[in-house]
Amino acid sequence: MTPEQIKKPENVVAQRPALLNDNTMHYCPGCSHGVVHKLVAEVIEEMGAEHIAIGVAPVGCAVMAYNYIDVDWIEAAHGRAPAVATAVKRLNPSRLVFTYQGDGDLAAIGTAETIHAANRGENIAIIFINNGIYGMTGGQMAPTTLEGMVTATTPYGRRVDLNGHHLNISPLLAQLEGTCYVTRQSVHTAAAVRKAKKAIRQAFENSMKGLGTSVVEIVSTCSSGWKLTPAKANDWMVEHMFEAYPVGDIKNTTTQKS
């Protein structure tokens, strides 16, 4: 068959989701944010939730998520996305409310809001992008930065005696009674992307069913901040990040509740 015979609308198996609009993303080449945006758009589209979805965007690289995914968005102050999402969900319980936060937003300045929203068991889905660095501001050390990792503010590597240990926030949130689903995923291979999509779908469904707070941590790369090519950043993540942040479900109580 010639390519012209194959390239017909009825033969499409994968394409750009309709909910992603035509704007070119401002993310660096190979950034995991792009993949996660695509997954969020696909999941909302598959759930038919375009008209009821409200995203709460963070401060950080994903601050302009409203430019790319064609649903309603609210911009929260730095780290305060779970607090804003709490209000939105309580006032509009029929809406699909999710936050989309990075590690500098969720695990640093927004730790209090995150922990208390999860402890109250707010019916929101939290998507947490963990790349171990402050990407937008130029690659400074974040609480999630690994020991020995070189960043702009730790040029000789993160020292435990000076900077403390990396903050592993998902197991912390899993201990709280309010969370119903805490999982850690990644988007470095096609198989991992499909698993991450399933996790996001389950988190969104939990939010609609009112089962409690769902947290989907995505271990990601920041090729610009890590000063690696996108492919090498993925290899580095598999080699180093997965040791500290192993991928898999941390908590899932939804099977008992439903």
């Binding site: 068959m1 390519p3 015979q5 194959i6 390239k7 017909k8 033969n11 499409v12 198996v13 994968a14 394409q15 750009r16 989701p17 992603l20 070119t24 993303m25 993310y27 660096c28 080449p29 190979g30 950034c31 995991s32 944010h33 792009g34 993949v35 695509k38 988007v187 470095h188 291979t189 096609a190 992307v193 499909r194 090729s223 090519t229 996108p230 492919a231 993925n234």
Partner: protein, 76 residues
């Protein structure tokens, strides 16, 4: 055995040349252009070996910018 044929279409002006689709492709269909650049100066991805495509959609799944459309035909 059914014969599976695939084809990819790449939105070259949206591509940022991150190389992730090239790494993900199991059949070495894709490669980055070595000389040509798109309207934003990136060496975009192209299907240099289109006959080998099986339409598995691994490239489109990992593409951060959603610039790949994958087609697949199963001939019985």
């Amino acid at each position: 055995m059914p014969k599976i044929t695939g084809a990819v279409e790449i939105d070259r002006d949206r591509c940022k040349g991150c190389d992730l689709c090239v790494v993900a492709c199991p059949c070495s269909v894709l490669a980055l252009e070595t000389h040509d650049v798109n309207n934003r100066g990136y060496h975009y991805a192209a299907d240099v070996n289109p006959e080998a495509c099986i339409g598995c959609a691994a490239c489109a799944t990992v593409c951060p910018d959603g610039c790949i459309t994958v087609y697949r035909v199963v001939e019985k």
